[in-house]
């Protein structure tokens, strides 16, 4: 039987760490045993079909007007769920919608590790329970020079991290996607160095614009969009917003990130949207908004400069691309 990343801390961590509340512990135990059950052979089959539209999410508060709520027309659901970069399910844009049915998002646990006072492996429901769900309408700019506008449903990453009490040595947050070639057929070939890894500097992670999304368009996140839990950092190129997260690690050193390791000259750690700093192979000055024919100019920090430019004051953005 395959053991997955998030099962290990369950045994290693001191029981107190998981005893956030007695009921949480019970639920966590139940979740882990269900995961174990799901790993048993003979359980394939049902999930092979195209992922259906997500269930509607209840109790979602719309974000207040302003940067949290882009006023541009949202991309169509069909485009946003049918045109994806999620190499774990294939490298063509249509592959994730076609293949992501094999991902099992229930049960799901996330390991919170490293420089936190209260580490632990937490079932997704427990992780999300204390946080009200908010809708955020953000521009999404892919490094490939196309863009969308998507109404996400999620929670601020800052509020979630605070619960685990980051220590003073927590300077960066590292994220990891699930690694399971059974569920993610794209991982059967070494296209990237699996599992997919991403990271943020602590001030970026704690910024109010940064969210963990669990839904879009008022519905549960479809698998091809990174279910059940993904990052969304709207002023950075899309590849920073890691999908299907199983591990969040706070640490002192800058984490290694997948595309940066793969092609360091082309994809930096920061990956801030910047029309003046071209990708070595193509221009970043303009972008095609999905649904439109001609290209439009790309905005500095994807139009969120007023909110986040101060994070990079004094930094040479050509060097720290």
């Amino acid at each position: 039987m395959r053991r997955r990343d998030f099962e290990l801390p369950e045994r290693e961590v001191t029981p107190e760490a998981l005893f956030l509340r007695r009921r949480d512990f019970l639920r966590a135990t139940a979740a882990v045993s269900l995961v174990a059950a799901g790993c048993l052979p003979g359980e394939e089959g049902e999930a092979k079909s195209r992922t259906p539209a997500g269930e509607p999410l209840a109790g979602v508060t719309p974000a207040p007007a302003g940067p949290f709520r882009a006023t541009e027309e949202a991309t169509s659901w069909e485009a946003a769920t049918g045109y994806n970069n999620f190499y774990e399910f294939g490298t063509d844009k249509e592959d994730p919608a076609e293949n992501a049915g094999s991902l099992r998002t229930k049960p799901w646990s996330v390991a919170i590790e490293g420089e936190v006072a209260k580490p632990g492996s937490v079932p997704l429901e427990t992780l999300l329970a204390p946080h009200p769900l908010e809708e955020r309408i953000y521009r999404l700019r892919c490094v490939e020079a196309w863009s969308m506008v998507i109404p996400w449903v999620g929670i601020p990453l800052a509020a979630l991290l605070a619960r685990f009490e980051p220590t003073s040595r927590a300077k960066y947050v590292a994220f990891e996607t699930l690694h399971d070639p059974e569920q993610m057929p794209g991982q059967r070939r070494r296209i990237l160095d699996w599992p997919y890894r991403e990271g943020l500097r602590m001030d970026e992670a704690m910024h109010p614009l940064t969210i963990l999304a669990v839904g879009m368009y008022g519905r549960v996140l479809p698998n091809q969009n990174g279910a059940p839990l993904r990052l969304m950092v709207p002023w950075k190129y899309g590849f920073k917003s890691i999908k299907s997260i199983v591990k969040i690690r706070l640490q002192e050193a800058q984490p290694a990130t997948t595309w940066n390791q793969e092609l360091p000259r082309e994809y930096g750690f920061f990956a801030n949207v910047n029309p003046d700093v071209d990708h070595p192979r193509w221009s970043q000055a303009r972008e095609r908004r999905i649904g439109e024919f001609s290209k439009r100019p790309t905005l500095f920090l994807n139009g969120y400069a007023e909110q986040v430019a101060s994070l990079y004051r004094g930094m040479d953005l050509r060097r720290y691309y």
Binding site: W146, R281, R288, G291
Partner: protein
């Protein structure tokens, strides 16, 4: 194999018809709005892919003709070459019109600064005189020099494959498959 003249003619026309199917598919898709979330990208990819495939098929004709002795294949080479040039032209026109909005200063910048654009553009530039001199008249007028000139097709094919290799993000499997086909075809020519 294809003994009668009309049968050969029909086979040749069928080949041309087949090669035009992807174009018909694009036209139909555009009319029905079924080219996906990013139709411009679909058109760019399909025209580029078929330009490259047909260019490589063009290079198959002569080795195949020599191996089999089927002299009737000779005119197929010109048809395939012209079809490849047609797709390459559409590929470039899509880029110029829909990516660059007919802005020629953007074009200059892209051709000079983006190696993958430089490579693809050079391939098209090299194919242009070949397309223009593909007629019997030009063949006669240029004589021996025609053969030398038309060797440029190998350079163009090499540039086209490199153009593809250069723009892929992580998974090189597909462009490298085309590169392998080209290497085999070049080897087939050099061996004789």
């Amino acid at each position: 194999m294809l003994e009668s003249k009309p049968a050969r003619r029909r086979a040749h026309l069928a080949l041309i018809g087949l090669a035009l199917l992807p174009l018909a598919g694009l036209a139909l898709g555009a009319a029905r709005g079924s080219l996906g979330a990013n139709p411009v990208e679909t058109i760019t990819h399909v025209t580029g892919e078929w330009a490259l495939r047909l260019l490589l098929l063009t290079l198959v004709v002569t080795p195949l003709r020599r191996m089999t002795g089927w002299a009737f294949l000779a005119p197929w080479r010109r048809s395939l070459g012209l079809l490849a040039f047609g797709y390459a032209t559409l590929h470039f026109a899509t880029f110029l019109a829909l990516d660059l909005g007919f802005d020629l200063s953007f074009l200059g910048e892209e051709v000079l600064e983006r190696p993958y654009v430089t490579l693809g553009f050079s391939a098209l530039v090299l194919l242009t005189p070949l397309a223009l001199t593909s007629t019997r008249g030009w063949q006669r007028r240029l004589g021996r020099r025609w053969v030398t000139l038309h060797r440029l097709v190998y350079v163009a094919a090499g540039l086209a494959v490199l153009h593809f290799v250069w723009l892929v993000k992580a998974d090189l499997a597909e462009p490298l498959a085309y590169a392998a086909v080209l290497v085999v075809l070049l080897a087939a020519r050099w061996w004789r």
